[in-house]
Symmetry: C2
Subunit: 483 residues, 2 copies
């Protein structure tokens, strides 16, 4: 699944302009594109970056088949000679990216492409599609993890996901963001995520009664039985039958693993179930709850003392139900001029937030030497020696006109070289490694920035040379506009 | 892309219970599962069914590889003998489905599977995943088509979709639902959807000035140039430059195709643009608008007299932003008893809407012989001779306790046989044929049911034998519950 060739997974205007630039003899000109987003989803304080592995596979596999070329020729009406240009297409540029699992903030360039305009154009749709989706879902699951820091979290949304990929890569994103288990077998295998799952109502209905169904499960999996107790009546039927089976298992030296509540009032029923199980001497039996859960419902259930050991999250996680799209964009920030020198470019918008930040830049995280917490991020022109600085001014987010002088920090460069001149120079970490890295980064972030609602705003500061350049370019464009 | 083997695209509990039933020697028992949804998305009046083609490909390709078997064995701890059972797995049952593009309503069984419990279990996750996604997106686009019945509709949301599949199959759904053009090349090719697209801000920035960029486009595509006019200043720069280029094209015997507005107030700017273009004698130049459009924004823009010939829809279409999941479910409704006879089963829930409708059923559309409009749908037990009825009682939706006697109708059976005993008996129509069929069905539906907000409720009636059976089974279960 990872090795599909997605050359035509592109918006038509991109190959159209590839052809135009080729015709003009400009296709070899070098450019820099930044990938970034503008505002945090879910009114939250951060995004969790994900999708790099998929982007790497995309770039390593992208090439035009004869059928691709024939179709494009029909659509764009290009010259025969251009067929060979497409036939020989492969990625020969450089790509820098933050790691998967990294915590990122608005306006930070988290992926930077340096290549010919010809190559950079083609990748736009696929890179945005992948990074937008996987980062959005990882962010949603990270928020759910925050709402349930100690419970087991089970991902099970495949049937409601927006297609097969959404289920599959969404599951990977859930695991990166701290979920423990998935029900989706394909993703479990391919991304080495622990799998789990209980039973469904049809399994009860396929037996003559509930107790027989429970016994079928217990007989086959005496140490791994999880009973769904809401098919007929949770308190009058499901729960007593589960206790009967638990006692039968005990008599044979086994332990019932859990019961699952999938309907009714989960706070009330889980408390009643916990009490009944405890009174029967079954305090070791876990309670799994499910049903339209997200970070808010989980917070409420916990506030009301729900007795849930495991939350099974479906629809609202896998679709990021509350806000099902992330708005990452892919913007040209520099291009080679006639002399071969890289020159910054800008797009000025009447909407300030849509004005791009020009030039090739680096992204740094300023980490406090004592607390090891993040003090803020710093974006500078690529040639500024930020790693040697001992003092940096960070924006005061309570009053962005002011800056706070910062000392005693460590500077971490966030963009990693992934491809250099077409050659991959980065070893893809395992999903578990990404998950551990993400966990570490979340620990680096003060609680204030992680609040689910109305979080504090994290400081992202432009260096003075970068800020001066941006202002100067805006002014120049304004003059142009007034012509 | 269509021919992936998705055997492990399943929730773990499904193969777990396949194994349990096999161990119990019950895996050959026949069952009937229904696929249906419970409430209309977007507070609307209908759903457009989509996903059948993908379901057919899934069922034709589903099989377990050695790697699949090894992984499942590790997860489920099954006996060696079961390996061969999986190795020989293929779909040998029957599947009935409404056509793609069909207009459907809550509680109608739109897919019916008749197979062994062993096979039916496995398909649940994939069938729901596919049908939920594609039907959801088709429904969203059908609503947008309603809001813009005469304009050209261009789909362009790939970069914000939830993964590659979501973009690809979402584009297909858009076309089925009446969109005219897509920007996504892969979907354009594979589903024979017309492709289109203009240019992006980076193309302007890659030139020294906007006019040069416009001229590059016009020179290469003199009869197919569509200019993005909002990069610097729509009214002061983009529009005058577009008019300049249009005049240059005219001088060479060509015509500028369109200008595109992607930011700012689209109602205001489109009217200003129309006026300026007309005053320059360019009334033939079309105006394309884009930017977070959905059915509601389009309604508002039209109400305000926006001069848009084409709406380009992105994020809010491809993700069904307002409600990004459809809740189709897959429920056991009948199973073979010891004597080999098919017996109805029910799941009774404290939530009335979640109580299933038992037994093998047929779904009929009652079409008025005079108006050719749909009078309502009728669900009956499979052996009722509904097609020979000359009088049918349909529920009065204003007071569901009453029924309306209906005569002078034609009965249309909606479920088509797709597979019979494992053999496909249905020829997949082309996407264009599905689109035309969908268009016809929308015409069969009175306007009242298609209102975007607060639509009239379409009548879906159970036959008396079916209703009696359901009530009887609920009563029997209630008795069971009171034990």
């Amino acid at each position: 699944m990872l090795h599909r060739n997605l050359a035509l997974h592109t918006d038509l205007y991109l190959p159209r302009w590839m052809y135009i630039y080729w015709k003009q003899g400009r296709h070899h000109e070098k450019v820099v594109f930044d990938l970034y987003y503008r505002s945090n989803p879910f009114s939250g304080g951060y995004v969790v970056f994900a999708g790099l592995e998929n982007i790497v596979h995309y770039l390593e596999n992208v090439s035009f088949t004869e059928a691709d070329i024939a179709y494009l020729k029909e659509q764009l009406g290009f010259e025969d000679e251009f067929e060979d240009v497409l036939r020989n297409f492969k990625f020969t540029g450089s790509l820098y990216s933050v790691r998967e699992g990294e915590v990122i903030f608005p306006h930070e360039q988290v992926v930077r492409i340096e290549s010919t305009i010809f190559e950079a154009k083609l990748f736009q749709t696929a890179l945005l599609n992948i990074a937008n989706h996987e980062s959005l879902i990882a962010t949603k699951y990270a928020r759910i993890r925050q709402a349930a820091p100690n419970e087991t979290l089970l991902e099970g949304g495949a049937r409601r996901a927006q297609g097969v990929d959404a289920a599959y890569y969404g599951t990977r994103a859930a695991y990166i963001a701290g979920f423990d288990v998935t029900s989706l077998v394909s993703a479990g295998r391919d991304f080495d995520v622990p799998t789990g799952g209980t039973m469904e109502h049809a399994d009860i209905q396929f037996h003559d009664d509930e107790l027989s169904a429970f016994r079928s499960f217990a007989e086959m999996y005496p140490d791994n039985t999880s009973l769904l107790i809401d098919t007929y009546d949770t308190l009058k039927s499901g729960l007593p039958n589960a206790i009967t089976v638990a006692k039968e298992l005990e008599a044979k030296g086994h332990r019932l693993k859990s019961v699952r509540l999938d309907s009714g009032d989960l706070a009330y029923l889980s408390k009643r179930a916990r009490k009944a199980l405890n009174e029967a001497g079954l305090d070791y039996v876990k309670i799994v709850v499910s049903g339209d859960l997200d970070e808010y419902v989980i917070q409420d259930l916990r506030m009301q003392g729900a007795e849930a050991d495991t939350f099974l999250v479906g629809t609202r996680g896998i679709t990021a139900y509350e806000q099902p799209a992330l708005g990452m964009v892919y913007k040209l920030v520099a291009r080679e001029d006639e002399s071969g020198e890289l020159k910054p470019v800008i797009k000025v918008s009447s909407s300030k937030v849509k004005t791009t930040t020009p030039h090739k830049k680096e992204l740094y995280r300023i980490i406090d030497n004592e607390t090891k917490k993040f003090k803020g991020d710093y974006i500078a022109l690529a040639d500024e020696p930020v790693e040697s600085y001992t003092e940096i001014d960070l924006i005061d987010v309570r009053d962005p006109a002011f800056k706070i002088k910062t000392r005693n920090f460590n500077v971490k460069r966030l963009l990693q070289p992934i491809f250099l001149d077409g050659k991959r120079v980065y070893d893809l970490p395992s999903t578990s490694e990404i998950r551990a890295y993400h966990h570490e980064q979340m620990n680096g972030l003060w609680e204030e920035y992680k609040r689910l609602r109305l979080p504090e705003v994290y400081s992202v500061t432009f260096s003075k040379p970068l800020w001066d350049l941006k202002l100067q370019m805006i002014r120049n464009t304004r003059i142009f506009k007034e012509v």
